[in-house]
Amino acid sequence: MKRKQLHAYVFTFPSLFLTLVLGIYPIFWALRYMFFAYPGYGTPQFVGLDNFFRVARDAQFWQSVQNTFVYAAGKLVLTIPLSLILAVILNRALRGRHLLRAVYFLPTIFSASVMSIVFYIVFNSYNGILNQYLMKLGLASSPIDWLGAGNAMLTVIIIAVWGAVGNYMLLFLAGLQSIPDDVYEAASLDGVNPLQRLWHITIPMLGPVLQMVIMLAITVSLKGYESIMVLTEGGPFGKTEVMYLYLYKLFFPLTSEGSSVQNIGYGSAVGFTTALIVGLVTMIYFWISRKLNETY
């Protein structure tokens, strides 16, 4: 028995070691530096809570927090209903449903950054592919400034929805398959129409799945910044700057933008604050959505 324990330690050691050194240690590293003034060179100076006072006053940061909420809300409001509707339709015995599922899921397998380059060429304001088609079909008389200050956030949200719908559709499909058929049979005997069925049977029965999927969607959208970084770098004029992108720039300033300066101490404090915001939003969501988790 002792021997078996030893074997178990040998087998978990590589995983444990890597997790401690590269997963846990960096968190404590940040927990320490958030109390220091440290631009990345020289000797770190202990400054107590100064970095946090600065976070509280940092208008640019709070703007990015606001942008994050707009981005996440926009993505959620479009993604969740669309993927739920697709899942409900494709859950039925429909010809070609397997092919359609595969098509809707396809965007999720590609790199967000690589697809953002493609979207950069598609949404380009002056000679972008989308504008060419819109003008050719007579849907727009002049090029639409998709990546300009007015539309950039919408464009970024559309791209995020494109990449996410297939994923959530699939999670909903898995949830739908756990709803027993006889519930629907009983409902159809009672003469329930498809919309009533969706609202009064499917969605309540899907409650716990819905709660989990929406929570996943919230955290993923709050944390996402890769695609925005490639597409707009947070611009123009910070209109698409989300909080995790702002954080990234404090550690690794982007080449084309002179405004951000590396600042490790302050960056750690911002990192702690963003993680706190995500945690807080998740908790509030759980409290609000607790009704969804009631089992029927």
Partner: protein, 279 residues
């Protein structure tokens, strides 16, 4: 009357389904067809098919734009990350599922902790500094090791797979003279082959698509750029605005291998996606 309205509903339903499918495929089709066009066609054409298929775009991207290097780096990182992650998580999952060792609870809590806490780019700095101390920042191994270290999700998937293999099998093998190690290598891993293949696909895709980590490592060392990094950097390259066709060819070099695998194994992609969330 009922028949007509039912027919109408069907038509509307199909228009919705096909329009959505069209929107999903549009950027991918545009990227693939655009990669064979001239720059003028990409920027002003508004036609679907290229007038003359410019296969030379790929040769240019491959040689002049250095995509041969990026592709090799991507393959290197993805293969070793996949092998390493699978090995480490399978071993850990075997121990956790089969043995009641002291500290097991803490280990599991630790894994879930890394899954849920995210302080974003902050961790990249200490991770990078550690690799500098080990002298690994100048090779792709720095990237590979960090990617392997983020294995909590795969670990929980593995636990699910191991639970599916009855313990009676271990006991029978033990009586037949197998030990802890040979049960793992000779009995359990072969049984898990289909599950491992699907997990490998998932891990490989993650590493292949990773952008931020190789970006950070290649900032001072451009030789370490992988496909997503090299491609994104083309935006700042020589007259990027006039090189759309090469950017699309580069994007296709990254997406086509995944697309080909997806055509044959899309069920595996979808299966693992649902499994990954269930944990």
């Amino acid at each position: 009357m009922v028949a007509i309205s039912r027919g109408l509903t069907r038509t509307v339903l199909w228009i919705f389904l096909l329009a959505t499918a069209g929107l999903m495929l549009f950027p991918i089709v545009v990227a693939i067809l655009g990669s064979f066009k001239t720059n003028l066609e990409v920027t002003t054409g508004a036609t679907l098919l290229p007038e003359v298929w410019q296969f030379g775009n790929y040769a240019h991207a491959w040689k002049q734009a250095n995509f041969a290097r990026f592709t090799w780096n991507s393959i290197y990182v993805s293969v070793f990350t996949t092998v390493g992650t699978l090995l480490i998580t399978a071993m850990a999952a075997y121990a956790v599922d089969r043995v009641n060792f002291r500290g097991k609870r803490i280990y599991i809590v630790l894994q879930s902790f890394t899954l849920f806490i995210s302080i974003g780019a902050v961790v990249l700095r200490p991770q990078f500094d550690l690799m500098v101390q080990l002298g690994l920042q100048k090779t792709l191994w720095g990237v590979i090791i960090i990617l392997i270290s983020a294995h909590a999700q795969i670990f929980f998937m593995m636990i699910g797979f191991f639970k599916g293999i009855p313990r009676e099998l271990d006991e029978a093998a033990l009586i037949d003279g197998c030990n802890f190690y040979s049960i793992f290598w000779r009995i359990i891993l072969p049984l898990l082959r289909p599950a491992l293949a699907v997990t490998a696909l998932f891990t490989f895709r993650g590493a292949w698509n990773e952008y931020i980590l190789p970006l950070v490592f290649s900032m001072t060392n451009p030789d370490l750029q992988t496909l997503p990094v090299g491609l994104a950097n083309l935006r700042y390259g020589f007259g990027a605005a006039s090189e759309n066709q090469y950017m699309l060819a580069g994007a296709c070099i990254s997406i086509l291998p995944l697309l080909v695998v997806y055509v044959f194994a899309n069920r595996s992609f979808m299966q693992v996606n649902v499994g990954a969330v269930k944990g």
